[in-house]
Structures are given as structure tokens and as C-alpha cells.
């Protein structure tokens, strides 16, 4: 097992009747990193995870997980992974402790009861340990799901939308757990609809759109792909057009207006454009400025832009 990739897939395809859920998914996740599969609902993220965790059989393509062939060595793959997601859940009829003991036994843990107690404490579930899991709050349930995945340290952990529907405090608990796992050397592949989540956790982000990986890169690289965003707010709405003209010249892209705020902004890939220069040029043109910003785009802006480009390309 010398491969540097914990997950390596080539051309994975899956079709459900007429629907082509995956149309050739290529994914490479380095060992010990966190990879975020980011995309809207229906992009194919969940199908991708279900394929990569042996729950579905690919129609075409191949993948190696922790060095094992996904199809031919499915049992070995299962021995190396753990999965947490909306569809792969613990048993609500059992208590938290009973669930963890069951999974510990199935993992051949020497002391299932002790391991369960340990994990309950680590995830702040000691008090609720002997209540049926069906009575847990969303956040507790998700922590128990995650604890069940960590009975034995997996080589690759798959988290399918681990924080969807959680309150901010519970979300940050899950984030902390993921960061800890990464420090321990576990490879994590997580899907999310939240750009902030991918930005916070992922070393690499794969933007998934229409069953394919549209772009891959670090959060910084993806942001650099569409450059910076310059925006100015003017004192007098009448000079907005004039300000837009200056922005157009400086950035070479068509500015977008926000008339309500008397603001105009434009994307720039020009790295020589600095905030002082922006202010100087506008001042020289006699535009009365109230505010000026030059910042990296948010992942939301990146995502909207890149997927919009895709649609144009199709």
C-alpha cells in the first residue's frame, strides 16, 4: 500500500433508470487530508459516497479506496472505511451505549463496553448514554453517528452532509471532531452544501456539478480562479455610472450595480490592482467615495461563477 491516495476514482458512472447520477467522476484524495465534495442538491455527491463506500455498484469506471479495489476487494474496503450520513445511521431503538457496544462487537473490539464508555465521554454523550437514540436531539444523534464510525480508527472516513440541519454549536462540535481526526492522520471525505464548511475544513475542494467534478483545488486556488472582488460605495447615486466606468477600466470586467446601496463592484484577476490604487484612481476621476473594498471572493461567489461557466460551456 504505497499509494499516496486514500481515494482514487476514475470515470465512475452510475445511472438510475433514465437519470445519469454520475457521468465519469474522477477524484483523487491524498492520504491524511480532508477533501470536501461541494455541490448543490442533485449534483451527485451522495451517489458518489454511496459508490465509494460499496453501498452501490458502479456501472462503469473504477476506484481504489485505501489501496483496495472498490469492486473486487469490497470486503477489504469495508474494513478500512467508516461512513456517517443521513442514510447510514445508528439504531434509534437502542440506547447510545447499546449502539456503540453493538458496533464495537462487530468490529471485534476486545472490550466493547469500555470502548463505548470512552466514546460516549469523548462526544459528550455520557449523560444521555442510556436513553434510546431516538430521543436524542439532531446534534446528539449526529455525534453518536460519528462516534459509531470511530470505534476503530478508519483509514478513510466518509461524512455525508455531517452538519445539515444542525445548530451552529453542534456544527462546530462536528468540525472540531473532523479537525482532530485529520491530526490523527485519518483521511476524510465529506460532502456538504455549505461553502463555509468546506472552506473551514477541507484541504482540497472538489466542486461537483451534474455528476462530474467541475473543478478541484484548495479553497485558496478556487478563489484565485476568479480573482478578487472590488466594490465601491459612492456618496451620490448620480456618480455611480462614472464610478462603474473607472472600475471597468481598472478590472476589465463588466461591473455589477447595487443601486439600493449606491454600490458598484467588479471581479478582477489583475494582481497589481491594490486598494490604494483603486481609491486614487476613483478620487482622481472626482468620484466622492464613501467606502471601497478589495477582497477575495467568498466560496459562494466562486461556486455560482464556476457552475454558471459550466452551464455556458454545455
Amino acid at each position: 500500500m504505497t499509494s499516496t491516495y486514500a481515494v482514487l476514482s476514475e470515470g465512475l458512472e452510475k445511472r438510475f433508470g433514465e437519470v445519469r447520477a454520475l457521468r465519469g467522476l474522477d477524484l483523487a484524495v491524498q492520504r491524511g487530508t480532508v477533501c470536501g465534495l461541494l455541490g448543490p442538491n442533485g449534483a451527485g455527491k451522495t451517489t458518489a459516497v454511496r459508490l465509494l463506500t460499496t453501498l452501490l455498484r458502479p456501472d462503469a469506471g473504477s476506484a481504489r479506496i485505501a489501496g483496495y479495489d472498490l469492486v473486487r476487494e469490497a470486503a477489504a474496503v469495508r474494513g478500512a472505511i467508516a461512513v456517517t450520513g443521513q442514510y447510514a445511521s445508528v439504531d434509534g431503538d437502542l440506547t447510545g451505549r447499546q449502539n456503540l457496544r453493538l458496533f464495537a462487537r462487530l468490529h471485534r473490539t476486545r472490550d466493547p463496553g469500555g470502548r463505548a464508555t470512552e466514546l460516549l465521554a469523548r462526544f459528550g454523550l455520557t449523560e444521555a448514554a442510556d436513553r434510546p437514540a431516538s430521543t436524542y436531539s439532531g446534534g446528539m444523534r449526529r455525534r453518536l453517528d460519528l462516534a459509531a464510525s470511530l470505534i476503530r480508527r478508519p483509514e478513510v472516513l466518509f461524512l455525508d452532509e455531517p452538519t445539515t440541519g444542525l445548530d451552529p454549536a453542534s456544527r462546530s462540535d462536528i468540525w472540531d471532531a473532523v479537525r482532530e481526526l485529520k491530526q490523527d492522520g485519518t483521511t476524510v471525505l465529506l460532502t456538504t452544501q455549505y461553502l463555509e464548511e468546506a472552506d473551514q475544513l477541507a484541504d482540497d475542494i472538489a466542486l461537483v456539478d451534474s455528476g462530474r467534478v467541475a473543478h478541484t483545488g484548495s479553497p485558496r486556488e478556487l478563489k484565485a480562479l476568479i480573482g478578487s472582488y472590488a466594490e465601491v460605495v459612492v456618496a451620490d447615486p448620480d456618480v455611480l455610472t462614472q464610478a462603474a466606468g473607472v472600475l471597468d477600466q481598472l478590472t476589465g470586467t463588466e461591473p455589477t450595480f447595487d443601486h439600493e446601496r449606491a454600490a458598484v463592484g467588479a471581479v478582477t484577476r489583475d494582481s497589481t490592482l491594490t486598494l490604494p490604487r483603486l481609491v486614487r484612481e476613483l478620487d482622481a476621476a472626482g468620484v466622492p467615495l464613501l467606502d471601497a473594498t478589495l477582497r477575495p471572493p467568498t466560496l459562494d461567489e466562486v461556486f455560482l461563477r464556476l457552475t454558471a461557466d459550466q452551464e455556458v460551456a454545455v
Partner: protein, 258 residues
């Protein structure tokens, strides 16, 4: 094989914990056949040509078999619920023997059924049912009944994995209610029109009910019956073997299918 035994035992433990955590549900399930025994035994019993006490002794084995056939619905409901709640997928991603999960479920269900037989037979004794034959034969009857339940549960597990729908399992509940009506579980088939009698006697429930009556010594094997009823023990064993041979592999394959 040792993997299967270990994982199967773990899954069996899980199912029994579910029962322990939901005693109300189990008690409710167990009171149903008792209610039917009292209801049928006294309402139908007073309308039939057969004396009431004799009918109730005839009915006890019939209701045992009808309850065993409910394993189809119970098995279907449980496995559909597991699929629906994501427990099945979680288990599928573990390095666990593929047959262990359905096997654990079927064995647990059979154990719960065995426990439920006791209160039912106590009520049976109270309304006039007796073991008229040998104790060995009576134990054989119970073993046969549990084997039949085990086979029925596998049918249910397969259907549950196939439909993945708890609603469908509920709908099937009405269908399994019909099964004993078209058998000799509640009434003797001797006086049915020829074709209907043949149909009812080829219902697996008829063979098992007749075998139970024979082994408990409650009623003789009827004359001129179709083969499974005329040879009730062999017929019951054959039915169980066929059902298991068909549905256990189907269920395991369905479970393992990625």
C-alpha cells in the same frame, strides 16, 4: 462460518435489545392471538356443529400457526424499517458477514415467538385445550411451529428488503390475515367444496396446523385430505424446507446486493 456465528450473535443481541427496550409493543403483539382465541372460541364456537370446548381445542393449534405466519409481516416490517432508517446501510458498510444481519433477525424473531407461546398456551389451557398425546410429541409440535415461524420470517425479510417500505408491510398485514382463512387453521376443511378444499389443504398453514393437532393429540388427521395434510409432519417439514431454500438465499442476496 465462525464470522457468521459471531456477527449473527451480535445481531441477534441487537434484536433482543430492541424487544427489551419496547416491551409495550411486544405485549401488544402477544395479546392479539389471545384475544382471537377468546373471540373465535366463544363466538364461532357456539355457532359450529362441533361442541364449544372441542372447537377451542381445535382452534389453539390453528391460532398458533396463524400467529407464526405473521412472521412474514413482522420480518418485512423490521427489515423495511431498518432500510428506511439507514441502519441497513450502516451495517452494509461494516466488514460484517453478509448473512449475519438477516440471520440474527430471523433467530431473534423465533426466540420472541417462543416466549410468546407460553402465555397463549396458558390461556388455551384455561379454555379447555389440553396436550392429549406424549410430552415428546408436544415438544415436537412446538419445534415444528418455531421452524415454520423461522421460515415465514425469512419470507418477510426478503419482502422488506425488496419493497423497503414500512407502509407496504402494513398493507401486507391484511393479506397475511387472509392466509389462515383459506386453510384449516380456524375451521375443518372436510366440508368445503372439492376445489376449495384442495386449495386450502395446499396452503402451508394447513399442513402445520394438522401436524400440531396430531402431535398435541387434539384432532385426528382428516380422511381423504391432500398429501401435505394427510402426512402433516412430513408435509410441514417439506413446506419449511421449500420456503427456507427459496427465501433465505433470496434475502441474503438481496441484503448483500450493492
Amino acid at each position: 462460518m465462525s464470522t457468521l456465528a459471531f456477527d449473527g450473535t451480535a445481531m441477534l443481541g441487537r434484536q433482543l435489545l430492541r424487544v427489551r427496550n419496547n416491551p409495550a409493543l411486544v405485549i401488544l403483539t402477544q395479546t392479539m392471538p389471545i384475544t382471537m382465541l377468546l373471540f373465535f372460541g366463544y363466538v364461532f364456537g357456539s355457532a359450529l356443529a362441533m361442541p364449544g370446548a372441542e372447537y377451542r381445542a381445535f382452534l389453539v393449534p390453528g391460532l398458533l400457526v396463524a400467529t407464526a405466519a405473521n412472521g412474514i409481516m413482522t420480518g418485512m416490517f423490521q427489515s423495511a424499517q431498518d432500510v428506511h432508517r439507514g441502519v441497513t446501510d450502516r451495517l452494509r458498510t461494516l466488514p460484517v458477514s453478509r448473512a449475519a444481519v438477516p440471520l440474527g433477525q430471523a433467530v431473534a424473531d423465533t426466540i420472541v415467538t417462543a416466549a410468546g407461546i407460553v402465555p397463549f398456551l396458558l390461556v388455551g389451557l384455561a379454555v379447555g385445550w389440553r396436550v392429549e398425546g406424549s410430552a415428546t410429541a408436544a415438544l415436537g409440535a412446538v419445534a415444528l411451529l418455531l421452524l415454520f415461524r423461522f421460515a415465514c420470517t425469512w419470507i418477510g425479510i426478503f419482502l422488506g428488503l425488496l419493497t423497503k417500505s414500512e407502509e407496504a408491510a402494513g398493507q401486507l398485514g391484511s393479506a397475511t390475515f387472509m392466509l389462515p382463512l383459506l386453510s384449516n387453521a380456524y375451521i375443518p376443511t372436510d366440508n368445503l367444496p372439492g376445489w376449495l378444499r384442495t386449495l386450502a389443504e395446499w396452503n402451508p398453514l394447513s399442513a402445520v396446523a394438522t401436524a400440531l393437532r396430531d402431535l398435541f393429540g387434539n384432532a385426528p388427521v382428516p380422511d381423504g385430505a391432500s398429501w401435505p395434510v394427510a402426512h402433516p409432519v412430513a408435509g410441514s417439514l417439506a413446506w419449511c424446507a421449500v420456503l427456507l431454500a427459496v427465501f433465505a438465499p433470496l434475502a441474503v442476496r438481496r441484503y448483500a446486493r450493492a
